[in-house]
Symmetry: C2
Subunit: 245 residues, 2 copies
DNA sequence: CCTAACTGGGTACGGTGTATGCAGTCGCAA
DNA sequence: TTGCGACTGCATACACCGTACCCAGTTAGG
């Protein structure tokens, strides 16, 4: 890891003197996202991006001081920004938020783990957070209450999509080979009779549909959230701020 | 990735002929877990483990055909197994499950991302799944309903812990440096006045306590789950199996 | 006892992120 | 107009990674 005097978003993209840069952070990130979407995040290497751009690997370091900064820019560009206005129906708004987020994460299968494991502060992400918190605003909630709900939804969607993608990752022919390898092991285990629920689970897994699973989880989540919001609304505001944390 | 005729759990540990092995899968995994816990998962390399064991890197490949299998064994050993009997109070049982899982994930900060991103089938993990599903058993739920609830809790705990760890990762002096780097950027953003909620969030973040955030999220989640379970209990069983999926 | 099957482990290959250095290009001050 | 300093693209090089290949030494079964 090189020294890094300040965050990538504070670094000016263009400088005063010298020849005009041939590339840009966004262009590099776009290429990297293309590779990651098509071949997985591990296929993204500096040399590979450079080849795709027709240049040398070290050129990229004129734009991004370290690979971690490449990830930072990739993440923010992949997240993007999609506006959403509150409709007054919090449940519907949160459901829309969840589905939109899921769509984004599924478009870029490498994205969810990154969002889960780093503090993300890119401009698109921050604008998105502001937009999402606004969905919960205007009803006298303490900011911490809003954050609890917001984080609950975001966190769950992220985890649910990771689980979806993990299950479906060995796709096509690979999936068949995977079952071939796994089959005997599971058969051996289930034959012991010590895993009745697992047995039922494996049978049912054949019919599991990701969309349905997501909607079921979301419904349960929203039930809890709406109950919580109703409970808070039933309390007077000063008492809420006190007791909620 | 080398060829891999079958899953690691099906490979016999000892063989008939030849000298007795000097190490074992579990011993190697234990060393690897020690390194990962202390210095992060990226510090775990074959050469590093071998050095810790006082041997050569290639020796490890006598026990584990590839690094992915090392991860597999590490995960299962780190997860371990802790028994839990149903008490009859589903809410309390699920809360206990969630807290136990959180404890496990926090003991091994590298663990949560692994659990989120792979299908995990180690013996400890499978025994744990069986144990957790049993908490929901005996009340006429369809297996898919049980899985929805189980996955909801597991997924959320996993995501919540990842978020906790991501926030607290720059610890101690690093955290201060991080704030030094981040401060000007955030100040600049907030000065635009376009991020009122973010501003409130950053103020409040000073007082955020991870335990409290976890318990708040868990409470909301359990509210939703109990409502869902009550709704199912109010339906007759055959209709439930039909309508639930 | 011999031989086959195993063991530990050295060497080597192709990959990675990135530090360093160098030649060419441009904007600005004199 | 000239030159200088700040920038550019980029080749080379280094340390580290996972792991394929090889070989010598050890041991149990026929």
């Amino acid at each position: 890891m090189p020294e890094q005097e300040s965050i990538i978003w504070m670094r000016p993209e263009k400088s005063a003197h010298g020849p005009a840069p041939a590339y840009s952070r966004d262009r590099i990130a776009a290429v990297a996202i293309g590779i990651a979407d098509a071949e997985g995040i591990d296929a993204v290497s500096m040399r590979r991006i450079a080849k795709e751009l027709g240049t040398g690997a070290m050129t990229l370091y004129r734009y991004l001081p370290a690979k971690e900064d490449l990830y930072t820019v990739m993440i923010d560009q992949a997240v993007g920004f999609e506006p959403q206005e509150p409709t007054g129906d919090v449940g519907a708004d949160l459901a829309a938020l969840a589905r939109r987020h899921r769509r984004t994460l599924r478009r870029h299968p490498w994205l969810a783990p990154f969002l889960a494991s780093r503090p993300i502060m890119g401009p698109n992400v921050l604008r998105g957070t502001e937009r999402d918190l606004a969905l919960l605003g205007g009803r006298g909630l303490h900011i911490n209450e809003m954050l609890d709900v917001f984080n609950l939804v975001r966190t769950w969607v992220n985890g649910a999509v990771q689980a979806e993608l993990a299950d479906s990752d060995p796709s096509g022919a690979d999936r068949l080979a995977w079952q071939k390898r796994m089959g005997p092991y599971l058969t051996t285990l289930l034959a012991t009779g010590e895993f009745p629920y697992l047995g039922r689970m494996i049978e049912a897994a054949e019919f599991g549909d990701a969309d349905e699973r997501f909607e079921n989880g979301l419904a349960i989540l929203l039930t809890g959230i709406e109950a919580r919001l109703a409970a808070i609304a039933g309390t007077d505001v000063s008492a809420t701020a006190e007791s909620s944390r």
